[in-house]
Amino acid sequence: MLSLDAIHTYYGLSHILQGVSLQLGAGEVLGLFGRNGVGKSTLIKTIAGWVVPTQGSMTFNGVSIAGLTPDRICRQGIGLVPEDRRIFPGLSVEENLRLGLMQAPHRSRAAAQHALDQTFSRFPRLAERRHQMGTTLSGGEQQMLAIARVLVGTPRLLLIDEPTEGLAPMIVDEIFQLIASLRAEGVSILLVEQNVMRAMPVCDRIVALERGTVVFEGQAQSASDRERLVAAIAV
């Protein structure tokens, strides 16, 4: 489904991604792990089109997406739940969600409304607060909104960057439950998470990133692979 081949990305002069190759199959949840500053977020931003790779190829369902603008990439069916949630402060909860409908602009009005209704029934707390400004929500609710905002566009692949950062343990549980249920529904997910132990159970495959390259790939179900991943990122 998503295939990266030898991707190189620069921020100014610093060479962040140094030849990353990745495959992600349909319906698969891929956990991407690594210490701070090894390029996890840059990888997400590169796939989303915020950063343009200088080298390498990137295809999604056979379509090359390297060098496309973020709006084109998202219309291919790649949804982004960014680090720090990035909720628009000047927009109400409902407006934030309705903006997410732009991901699939060619849907009929009824289909769009249906997607919106479904999202509201999935996130009843957002439905209660639909006229509140997005940034007046609590941290956990904002994270839910960031995910819901992408789900209304029914993406085929979700990029989720550090969804539990700075949240209370109870909310963290909720987030992982949500990811698990999305997985059960067959949504493909690329998940970046600091909390390796909590994230493993919702993943199919796991990847370790170190200094801008993939240093380990394995199965989340295999105990030995898990141990090797932990060893790889604890260097």
Partner: protein, 303 residues
């Protein structure tokens, strides 16, 4: 009895001196607000100071004069000119602003670029229409009495039409999905793009919208003021002052500041020579810059 005379005097001065002055200020204020709205929306989304905004205002007036010369009626101009201006604005953003938009000094470069455009446009007016002013006929001649105040009909129309347009702009920005896109992109263009907002087109469209508003206020003011090549330059300082006092990129601020400052200008000219009312308004701007540099209200998309 004495108190009654005092009361009468007050009423009379309200009716014959302040009333007309306030109403005239309100009419001009509407056009100032429209122009300032264009400036402030462009700044709020694109971070661009459009130095040629005054010339776009003049272009709107000149287009109206030209179309009227071809026998096009004023009401049709009122629709046609903003559409033409929007096309010109869209083209300007795509071909000029985008060229320097992604460089590091884009504030200064876009300002300089639009400044260059202003120089050229002003000279084009001189070339095409000569230096002499045109005075279009008022489309609604005559005057009527409102609340005991005699007012030219056209100014009454200006106040009503201006209020409607301001409300429409507000609805468009705050009540439609198009407006939500603009507000979202003004806060975080990357995130907006990742939700499918075609940011580049929204930028060009917003610029076009701002330019169309400038053109519209040109059409509306043409029958009151004359149309001449440097008319934009004379008007732009007021618009900038309104935008700064209201808060750069703030719609609410531009409306409030625009109406207040034109009242200050209008009423103060009863007491001081009109040539000194502009320094007075500018003094308010400096004061604001010292006391409240962020202006009256917050920026587009920022809460």
């Amino acid at each position: 009895m004495h108190g009654g005379a005092c009361m009468n005097e007050l009423l009379e001065s309200l009716q014959f001196i302040y009333g007309p002055q306030i109403a005239n200020g309100l009419a001009i204020g509407m056009a100032v607000v429209l122009m300032a709205l264009g400036l402030t929306i462009i700044f709020g989304l694109l971070d661009v100071i459009n130095m040629s905004h005054g010339e776009f205002y003049a272009l709107g007036a000149y287009l109206a004069v030209t179309l009227a010369g071809q026998g096009v009626n004023f009401w049709f101009c009122l629709v046609l000119v903003p559409l033409l201006m929007a096309a010109i604005g869209y083209f300007t953003e795509r071909t000029l602003i985008q060229r320097v938009f992604h460089s590091k000094d884009r504030h200064i470069l876009t300002l300089l670029l639009t400044f260059g455009l202003a120089i050229i446009t002003e000279d084009l007016f001189k070339l095409g229409y000569g230096p002499n002013p045109y005075k279009p006929e008022s489309p609604i001649p005559g005057a009527s009495e409102l609340f005991g105040i005699m007012l030219p009909n056209y100014r009454v129309f200006l106040i009503v039409a201006g209020s409607c347009i301001i409300v429409a702009v507000w609805m468009l920005v705050y009540r439609t999905r198009l407006g939500a896109m603009v507000r979202a992109a003004a806060w975080d263009k990357h995130m907006a793009a990742s939700l499918g907002v075609p940011v580049e087109r929204v930028y060009a469209g917003t610029f076009a919208f701002g330019v169309a508003l400038a053109g519209l206020s040109g059409v509306l003011l043409a029958p009151i003021y004359s149309v001449f090549p440097t008319m934009g330059k004379d008007f732009i300082l007021m618009a900038f002052t309104v935008v700064i006092v209201g808060g750069m990129g703030s719609i609410k601020g531009a409306v409030i500041a625009g109406l207040l400052l034109t009242q200050v200008q209008s009423i103060s000219s009863l007491f001081i020579s009109p040539v000194w009312s502009e320094p007075l308004v500018f003094g308010i701007m400096v004061l604001f810059l010292i006391v409240r540099p962020q202006g009256l209200a917050g920026r587009l998309g920022h809460g």
